[in-house]
C-alpha cells in the first residue's frame, strides 16, 4: 500500500528541477538524454573521471564460448574430455588452448580473466547482463556497453553513428535515447541497405524533393509547434549526412592493402575486424563485432576448434594492427560472451550452460596486459582465486573510460545510473 509518509515525490521533484531550468521534461519530443539527466553529484562519484580509453571494440562471442576450449583449458582433467593441449607462454597462468596459437603470441598485450561468474544461465538473460551490467528487467531497458560508450565518448558533430554493430542482435540505447542506438550492419562487407540513393534519384533530385518536404515541415511546425517536427528533421538530417559522407567508405574494405587483408585472414569475422579498425580510425566510439555459433550443446570439440580458427588470427591481427598505428593505448578491445560451458562433457560430446565461471579477454585502452586474473580448480568447477562479477567488469570499463557514474538518469519514472550502484567495484589489477 502507498505509504503516506513518503515525502519525496520523485516525479514532482524531477518536474520542478526541469521547469526551473526551462526544460520541458514531460514533452514527448525530447531529443537526447541530456534534458532528463540530472547534474553530477561529486560525492557519489566512484569511477575515476578521464580515463585513457577513448574507443572500444567489443568482440561478442554469441552463444557462450567454452572457457575450457579457449582460455581456461584443463589438459590434466579427464572429466572435461578436451583432447586439446594447452600452450605455454611467458605470462604466468596464460595457457590458451592449442587452437589459439596467434593469441598466445599476444600475451604481453592482453589480460585474461578466468573467474568471471554470474547467476544467469539463459541466453537472453546472460546476454543482457554481459551487455549492460544489469540483470534484465522487463520494465526498464538498460543501455548496452556500446550505447554507453557512444553517450559518454561519442562525438557530437560527426558524419558516422557513434555505435556501429557488425551483424545484428538486440541490445540498444535504452533510456540513453535513439542517437546512441547501434547502427546495425547485418551483412558486414556487403553494400549497406538503403545507404545509397535509389535508382533514378541523384543528389540534385533528392535536394529538390527535400525542399518540398522542408516547406511542408515548416507549415506543420508553424501550426503545431516546432517540437512536433524536430525529432523527424534531426533524424533525416543525420541520415542524409551519412549518405553523402566520404567516411561511408570506412564501412567497406575494398581499398585496404592486400597484406593487411592477409594478416587478418579470411572469413566474415576477419573482414569485420578490418572494418572495426577502419571505423576506429574514422573516430567511431564503439564497434561491436559478433561471432555466433558458440552454443555447443553437441559436437563441442569440432565446433570450438573451428570457432577458435575463426577468431584467433583476426583478433591477434587486430590487436597488432591497432598497436602499430598507435591506437591500442586508447582503444579497449573486449572479447566475451554471455556465460561459460559445463566442464563435464556430455554424452553427445557437448557442453551445456555454465555461468559459474567463464572467461573474458581485455586489451588496450589502459588495461594492464601480460597477466591473468582469477583461477579455477583442476576440474574447472570452482573459482579458487579472485572471483570477478559482471558488475565489477562494468565498473572497470567505467574507470578506464571515466564514465560519469554519478549522473542520475530517469527511465520511465525511476532514477537509474550507468553502472549498478548496488554491486561491483573496479578490478584494481586490470587498471594496473
Amino acid at each position: 500500500m502507498a505509504n503516506p509518509l513518503v515525502s519525496i515525490k520523485r516525479r514532482d521533484f524531477l518536474r520542478a528541477t526541469a521547469a526551473a531550468g526551462g526544460i520541458l521534461a514531460t514533452s514527448h519530443f525530447w531529443w537526447g538524454p541530456d534534458l532528463l539527466a540530472q547534474g553530477s553529484d561529486d560525492k557519489k562519484t566512484t569511477a575515476k573521471r578521464g580515463g585513457k580509453c577513448k574507443q572500444v571494440i567489443l568482440l561478442w562471442m554469441e552463444g557462450a564460448p567454452s572457457q575450457l576450449d579457449t582460455f581456461d583449458p584443463k589438459p590434466n582433467s579427464k572429466d572435461t574430455g578436451s583432447p586439446w593441449k594447452a600452450l605455454d607462454t611467458d605470462t604466468p597462468g596464460f595457457t590458451p588452448v592449442e587452437n589459439l596459437p596467434n593469441m598466445a603470441k599476444m600475451a604481453k598485450d592482453i589480460c585474461v580473466i578466468r573467474s568471471l561468474n554470474s547467476k544467469e544461465g539463459n541466453h537472453s538473460r546472460g546476454s543482457y547482463l554481459l551487455h549492460t551490467g544489469y540483470i534484465p528487467n522487463p520494465t526498464l531497458k538498460h543501455p548496452s556497453l556500446g550505447s554507453i560508450v557512444s553517450h559518454q565518448l561519442g562525438k557530437k558533430d560527426f558524419d558516422l553513428p557513434n555505435f556501429v554493430k557488425l551483424r545484428g542482435g538486440p541490445f540498444g540505447a535504452g533510456y540513453l535515447g535513439v542517437e546512441n542506438n547501434p547502427f546495425v550492419i547485418s551483412n558486414p562487407g556487403a553494400r549497406i541497405e538503403n545507404l545509397d540513393y535509389a535508382g533514378g534519384v541523384d543528389k540534385a533530385r533528392m535536394d529538390k524533393r527535400m525542399k518540398l518536404v522542408d516547406e511542408m515541415e515548416k507549415d506543420f511546425a508553424r501550426q503545431r509547434g516546432a517540437e512536433a517536427v524536430e525529432a523527424h528533421k534531426a533524424m533525416y538530417e543525420k541520415a542524409r549526412r551519412l549518405m553523402d559522407s566520404p567516411l561511408k567508405s570506412k564501412f567497406y574494405i575494398a581499398d585496404e592493402p592486400d597484406e593487411v587483408k592477409k594478416a587478418y585472414g579470411s572469413g566474415k569475422f576477419a573482414e569485420s575486424c578490418i572494418i572495426a579498425r577502419r571505423l576506429i580510425e574514422a573516430g567511431v566510439a564503439c564497434i561491436e563485432v559478433v561471432l555466433g555459433g558458440w552454443d555447443t550443446h553437441d559436437d563441442n570439440f569440432v565446433r570450438t576448434k573451428r570457432l577458435c580458427g575463426e577468431f584467433d588470427q583476426p583478433m591477434a591481427a587486430l590487436l597488432a594492427d591497432l598497436k602499430k598505428r598507435g591506437l591500442l593505448e586508447t582503444t579497449l578491445v573486449v572479447w566475451m560472451g554471455e556465460f561459460g560451458r559445463t566442464p563435464r562433457i556430455s554424452a553427445t560430446e557437448g557442453r551445456d550452460h555454465w555461468p559459474n565461471n567463464f572467461c573474458a579477454v581485455l586489451a588496450g585502452g589502459g588495461v594492464k596486459g601480460n597477466q591473468v586474473i582469477g583461477e579455477t580448480d583442476e576440474r574447472g568447477m570452482t573459482i579458487t582465486k579472485d572471483p570477478v562479477g559482471v558488475q565489477d567488469l562494468f565498473w572497470t570499463f567505467a574507470s578506464l573510460m571515466g564514465w560519469d557514474t554519478a549522473k542520475e538518469f530517469e527511465a520511465g519514472n525511476r532514477p537509474v545510473w550507468l553502472t549498478d550502484k548496488t554491486a561491483g567495484k573496479p578490478i584494481d589489477k586490470v587498471l594496473g
Binding site: 534484465p136 520494465t139 545484428g168 540498444g172 533524424m235
Partner: protein, 572 residues
C-alpha cells in the same frame, strides 16, 4: 451478476472487512460501491449506455481545463478525424477512395443522401461503428496487443501464434476479462491452443513473465523488487516472488522441432500440485526460505487442487472488483487514442504517479466492467468524446505541449508505430490487394517481406512494448529516403496509386472541372495525407511541376515528398 448478488458480495466483503479489522484489500474495491457524486440510478445504468460515461468524461475534462484556465482547441476537421480514426482503429491511413466516401457523401444513392443529412458528430459516430465492425479492427488490435505483450524482438513463431489467437478474440469482441484469463491460464499444445503463445514466449523466464504480466495488466511495476525493495513503494522481494510463485508449477517446452515447412510445436503444462500445505511450502523453498504465492498487496494463496495457483491468480487479476485491472485497461486505451493516459507513463501506477483525472478514470473503469469488459464499448466512449474530436493545432500559438497534454486541451501529435507506417505506406501507394480473399497468401508473403525489412530498420526499437512511444532513428530515415517500398511505390514505371491517378487525369468526367495538374496534385494529397491541399500547397506543388522538364518525375517527387513529411509520419 445481478444487483442483488452484487450487494450480497459487497455485504460479504464488508463483513470480512469488519472481521479483519482492516480496510478492504488494496486493489479490491466492490464495483457497485456508489460514489458520492452519483445517484443510485446512475450507478445502476452503468455499462448500458456509453454516452453517459462519455458525457461525464467531457464535463469533467472541461471543468478541469476551466480551473487551469486552459483554452480549448477547435474541433478537428472531418478529414483529420477520418485519418485519425482509421489509424487508431484499423492501424493504417484511409485510402483516397475511403477519404472521399466519408468526406463527400455520394448523393446518387439513398444511403449517401441520408448520410449527407446527418450532423458532423453523427457522421463521426457512424464512421467509428463502421471501423469497429471491419475485420481489419481485429487484425490491427491483435498485432498491437501481441507487441505489447511479448515485444517486437520475440520469436516470430510465438508472435504469429499469439496474434492469430488474439485476432479471433477481437473478431468476436470477447470480453476482455475472459480474454486475459485465458491468456494467463493457457495450457496444452500449440496445435490446439494458440493462447499459450504468451506464456511460452518467456521460455520459462518466470521473473520476466511475472514482471510483464503485472505491468501490462495491472499497471504495477514490481520488477525492481526482484533484487531489492521497491525504491518508493511498499513492495518487497517477497511480494515479487509471491506473485512469481503463482507460475512456479508452470513449465513450457518445445515438443517438436520445425521441419518440412511445418512450425515447431510447443506446450505449456502445469505440474501437479503438492498434496498438502507442508509439501507446498517445501516445494517453494529456495535458499532456506519459502515464499508462498501471494496476491499483490493481498492474501496468501491457499492450496486447493480445484483452484490451482495460475487459475487463482488469473481469477484475482480479472475480477470485476480488481481496481488495478480495470483502471489499467482504461488507461491504456485512453493513452492509445489520446496520446496520454490519466496515468503517464501508461503502465506505471504508483503512489507518486497518481491519475490526473481520478474521478473519470474511476467512472470509465466501472462503466467498462459493467459493460461486460466490452472493449468496443470503451472505444466508443473515447472516440465520441470531445477530447478525441479536437484539432492538434493549439488555440493559442506557443502553447505548452505538456500543459495541453495534461489537460487534454488539444489532440496530441503522435508518431506512427512501425506497423502503422508499413500499412499506411502500402495503402497510400496502393500496394497489395487488401480486400480480396484469393490474394491472402500472396499478400501475407509481401507483408512478411516488408515487415521484415522494416523490423530491420526499426530493430533498435526492440523492447519497446509501449507502442505509442517512438522517436525514430537513422535506419528508419534511410529506409524512407532510399528504400525500395517508397521509391517503387512512387515510380511511374510501376503499377501504383500515382500511375492510376495519372491515368484518371485523362478522363474529363473524373476530373470534375479541375485541370489535369490540379486534379493530380489533389489526388496525391488525398492518397498520402488524407486531405485536399491548402491553396498555398497546391500552387507550390504546381510551381514544382512547371519547373521540371519531365512532368512525370515532378509528380513522383511530390508523392514521395509527402510520404516523407512529419504530417505523414504522425497521427495528429
Amino acid at each position: 451478476m445481478s444487483p442483488s448478488v452484487r450487494s450480497v458480495v459487497a455485504f460479504a466483503l464488508l463483513t470480512l472487512t469488519a472481521l479483519c479489522g482492516v480496510l478492504a484489500l488494496e486493489g479490491e474495491e466492490p464495483l457497485q460501491a456508489q460514489r458520492k457524486s452519483e445517484t443510485r440510478a446512475e450507478t445502476e445504468a452503468m455499462g448500458k449506455d456509453w454516452t453517459r460515461a462519455r458525457d461525464f468524461l467531457d464535463e469533467t475534462l472541461r471543468a478541469k481545463r476551466k480551473a487551469a484556465k486552459m483554452p480549448l482547441a477547435e474541433r478537428c476537421t472531418d478529414a483529420e478525424f477520418i485519418r485519425r480514426a482509421y489509424l487508431d482503429i484499423l492501424g493504417r491511413i484511409p485510402s483516397r477512395e475511403e477519404v472521399k466516401t466519408w468526406l463527400i457523401p455520394d448523393l446518387t444513392t439513398p444511403e449517401g443522401q441520408e448520410f449527407a443529412r446527418l450532423k458532423s458528430h453523427q457522421r463521426r459516430e457512424k464512421l467509428i461503428e463502421a471501423l469497429l465492425a471491419s475485420p481489419e479492427y481485429a487484425e490491427s488490435w491483435a498485432r498491437t496487443w501481441a507487441i505489447t505483450l511479448i515485444g517486437r524482438e520475440a520469436d516470430a513463431t510465438y508472435r504469429n501464434m499469439l496474434q492469430e489467437w488474439l485476432q479471433g478474440q477481437f473478431a468476436q469482441n470477447r470480453p476482455f476479462d475472459k480474454l486475459v484469463y485465458d491468456l494467463v491460464t493457457a495450457s496444452g499444445s500449440s496445435e490446439n491452443n494458440k493462447a499459450i503463445g504468451y506464456i511460452i514466449s518467456f521460455e520459462n523466464d518466470r521473473p520476466a513473465l511475472t514482471g510483464i504480466t503485472s505491468k501490462v495488466f495491472l499497471g504495477k511495476q514490481i520488477q525492481c523488487a526482484q533484487c531489492h525493495k521497491h525504491p518508493y513503494e511498499e513492495i518487497t522481494t517477497d511480494d515479487f516472488f509471491g506473485v512469481q510463485n503463482f507460475f512456479k508449477f508452470t513449465d513450457t517446452r518445445m515438443t517438436q522441432q520445425a521441419e518440412k515447412g511445418l512450425p515447431a510445436i510447443y506446450e505449456a503444462r502445469d505440474r501437479s500440485l503438492p498434496p498438502n500445505a507442508e509439501l507446498l511450502k517445501r516445494a517453494l523453498t529456495e535458499e532456506g526460505k519459502a515464499v508462498l504465492p501471494k496476491f499483490l498487496f493481498g492474501e496468501t494463496y491457499k492450496l486447493d487442487p480445484a483452484n490451482p495457483p495460475r487459475k487463482a491468480l488469473a481469477a484475482w487479476m480479472t475480477s470485476p472488483d480488481n481496481v488495478y485491472f480495470r483502471e489499467m485497461t482504461v488507461n491504456r486505451y485512453m493513452a492509445r487514442f489520446l496520446g496520454v493516459g490519466f496515468v503517464h507513463p501508461v503502465d506505471d501506477f504508483n503512489s507518486n504517479n497518481t491519475p490526473s483525472h481520478p474521478e473519470v478514470l474511476d467512472r470509465m473503469a466501472r462503466e467498462f466492467v459493467a459493460s461486460g469488459f466490452d472493449l468496443k464499448y470503451l472505444i466508443r466512449m473515447i472516440c465520441n468524446s470531445e477530447a478525441y474530436n479536437l484539432s492538434s493545432v493549439p488555440k493559442k500559438a506557443g502553447a505548452k505541449y505538456s500543459e495541453d497534454r495534461a489537460t487534454y486541451s488539444r489532440a496530441m501529435v503522435r508518431r506512427l508505430s512501425p506497423e502503422q507506417v508499413v500499412f499506411s505506406v502500402m495503402r497510400a501507394i496502393g500496394a497489395g490487394d487488401f480486400g480480396s480473399k484469393n490474394n491472402r497468401d500472396r499478400r501475407d508473403q509481401v507483408l512478411a517481406y516488408i515487415l521484415q525489412s522494416f523490423n530491420y530498420a526499426y530493430s533498435d526499437d526492440e523492447g519497446s512494448r509501449d507502442i505509442d512511444d517512438y522517436s525514430g532513428s537513422i535506419p528508419q530515415a534511410l529506409m524512407m529516403l532510399n528504400g525500395r517500398l517508397l521509391n517503387d511505390g512512387t515510380d511511374l514505371g510501376q503499377d501504383n496509386t500515382l500511375k492510376r491517378i495519372i491515368t484518371e487525369s485523362g478522363n474529363d468526367k473524373l476530373r470534375g472541372g479541375l485541370d489535369a495538374v490540379n486534379y493530380i496534385i489533389e489526388e496525391i494529397f488525398l492518397a498520402t495525407l488524407g486531405r485536399p491541399p491548402e491553396k498555398w500547397e497546391a500552387s507550390r506543388m504546381k510551381k514544382h511541376v512547371e519547373g521540371e522538364s519531365d512532368r512525370h518525375k515532378a509528380f513522383e517527387d511530390i508523392f514521395w515528398a509527402l510520404l516523407n513529411t512529419t504530417e505523414f509520419a504522425t497521427n495528429h
